[in-house]
Symmetry: C3
Subunit: 290 residues, 3 copies
């Protein structure tokens, strides 16, 4: 295993190793396992959050990081993506971390490099480290997730986060229920509903997605407020139920999740951020160490 | 003391410690006192100068630095400042260094983080490390500053640099005289004049401020040239007097200070830049070490 | 020797030392020869490629790097270049690496700093590290380059890469032939032709330049396609001849060099990128170490 393009690239054994590493990083001082390793990040789509999580992870492990500012890069001079990747690879990094708005770009680039290529999100296709940190957060909370039910809520069809989670969570024995308006539901053979109130009593966890106005043009709802009326995770909805709430961030307050729920201890958003650094450290060590 | 929001957060004893550290950093090789520490910078207002001074300071001490490019950050996706800070904090940095165009933002953010929060300038409120380096430069020159007179010249009302210096310099026994046109004078109980020539014979130091066209709209003077006629620090003004000249930079040449004075040994602008790195190193060690 | 502004700053002995270092860096693990050194990069003209090559080189040697984002820098606040350089220098870096669109800027700045100043390309004047890596690539291929013939093809007149190479390659005994349309030929006493087919049988190497639409306004050719018909390096042109092809990148595919030639083993573009890191490491060590 050299690249991480989708969660399918990892066996359950690989994932167990990554999680064992992440657990250890959450506990103690971090050994500089990636000393003298060089990692290049190249984000063709803006994401301060994911990029800085990877950068923090790499630096905690003693690696050197070079961030490419793509807005200014050779791609503006008409260079092909293929050439950009081959050129970066020629500089001898140990890994290149890529985000791109088009599905499939990290896979294609991985064919043209000798180093590891890590997908930090491509189009509506995959976001493997996000799914890995989500499952890790669920495992840390529940111990065992086999048989647990999770509702994924929101614009599932356009979400690489949902895509990667559906694959990964089901592989680890979770039951996934999709909750979305018809236009946001993917054509996939999974339990689904338009009304979260129908399933709220059965679920152990809710994964709220970010409402994304970027990736589809026509308005489904007259306004985000109308959308929120049906799909926002509120105190009125969850009451005192024994469940946890996840969200990949950044959260649209009172559209995705209400202010009140965001400060409820059942909401694990900040824990996900913290776990994200540890899981990405685990991924980097797994791919680059030894 | 965990945060540095204004100079008031520091006792005179704290400041002495910071200066003792800064003195030592100016002399010898720097021990890596902040090895394995992680510092995040997030500048919502552009400032290559202050940001790079902090970055150089942190790196000289062996810390890792992650710079967030805010133009591209989640704040564009509508995330609240509160959430941005809480999320960065969840990644486990030892300090977050913030600049923001609105007064009070660093204070508010400090309530939502577990790490240290350092104010690198907020609106027209405070710029504590600038005042610390200014006082440090005065102390290195005069030995003792008690009883010395300093004229602060320029747009004092809109200046966080002036604000922080007025508090700090007076606390260390200096007499501050404000020199500015009426619209640039704050309502504060301090000696002031519209004419620098009135006080030039009494002062030991002049702190020229940058003329800031950004933070107030209506023109006070028909042109910067008219302003310069009255307030630019020129050779004709200072003659051979025994005084020194400070400026927080970047200097508007021949508006704030004349070319001739800038190359005069009494002008300490570059020494301030050099001292700035040493003082910020002292601040980081004081807040983060041990 | 403190600065590197043009290839003329380096004697043949200096260059031999740099190449001996570069050879060693290509082979083994890199000693941290620049530990505790600080390098500032300031690129007034975009160049992800050159900037990241220098950054990788510096970090491999254990140096700290601070990148200044000039689009946001004090230069926007009207500070002079002189002041920007003097201020950076006051922060105590060991080297400043500069790119600027105007010829002569690095030389002028070098007069105002105490640290090393390295030219990473200025206007159409010089790009010394590019020429150094090109010669290094030729030496690694040919062993001895004395008496070898190289055709430089394209917009030579506006090319700092060509300028620096013409000086350096001739000094090391190569015969340089210029191949370009009349408007792209500099007024210089060197063999030249408008038709590459005239010299293709004599040359040992071809250095294709990037077609630069940025630095001259009037169109020479009706279209890049017309230009390519005459000057693109194609398989039909090079056939099975024993020669190698260089290009400073980024390559305009099928304008500068055809797809087919780019994947031919005689094309050394990616080797140049790899060598570029090693040569820049050699330059940094030569200037900053000991």
């Amino acid at each position: 295993m050299r690249h991480l393009i989708t969660t399918n690239d990892l066996s359950e054994k690989d994932i167990s190793e990554i999680y064992r590493l992440a657990d250890s990083f959450l506990e103690g001082p971090t050994p500089h396992l990636l000393k003298n390793k060089l990692i290049i990040t190249i984000f063709f789509e803006n994401s301060t959050r994911t990029r800085s999580s990877f950068e923090v992870a790499a630096k905690r492990l003693g690696a050197e990081v070079v961030n490419l500012d793509v807005a200014k890069s050779s791609t503006k001079k008409g260079e092909t993506l293929y050439d950009t990747a081959a050129n970066l690879d020629a500089m001898g990094p140990n890994a290149i971390i890529v985000r791109h708005k088009s599905s499939g770009v990290p896979y294609t680039l991985s064919k043209h490099v000798n180093c590891s290529l890590i997908n930090a999100g491509d189009g509506s296709h995959a976001h493997p480290t996000q799914a890995l940190l989500d499952l890790f957060t669920l495992l840390r909370h529940f111990g065992d997730v086999r048989g647990k039910k999770i509702a994924i809520v929101g614009d599932i069809k356009n979400s690489r986060v949902a895509n990667s989670n559906i694959e990964l969570l089901r592989r680890f024995g979770m039951e996934v229920i999709l909750v979305a308006p018809p236009h946001f539901l993917p054509k996939i053979d999974l339990a689904s509903t338009y009304d979260i109130r129908e399933v709220i009593d059965e679920v152990d966890a809710i994964m709220s997605l970010r409402t994304q106005t970027e990736r589809h043009r026509y308005p489904i709802y007259a306004s985000l407020k109308d959308y929120a009326r049906d799909f926002c995770i509120t105190k009125e909805l969850i009451k005192k139920r024994d469940l946890i709430i996840l969200h990949p961030g950044p959260v649209h307050r009172n559209i995705d999740i209400s202010d009140e729920v965001l400060s409820d201890p059942r909401c694990k958003v900040l824990e996900q951020v913290k776990n994200g650094v540890a899981v990405r450290m685990g991924v980097l060590v797994k791919l680059l160490h030894g």
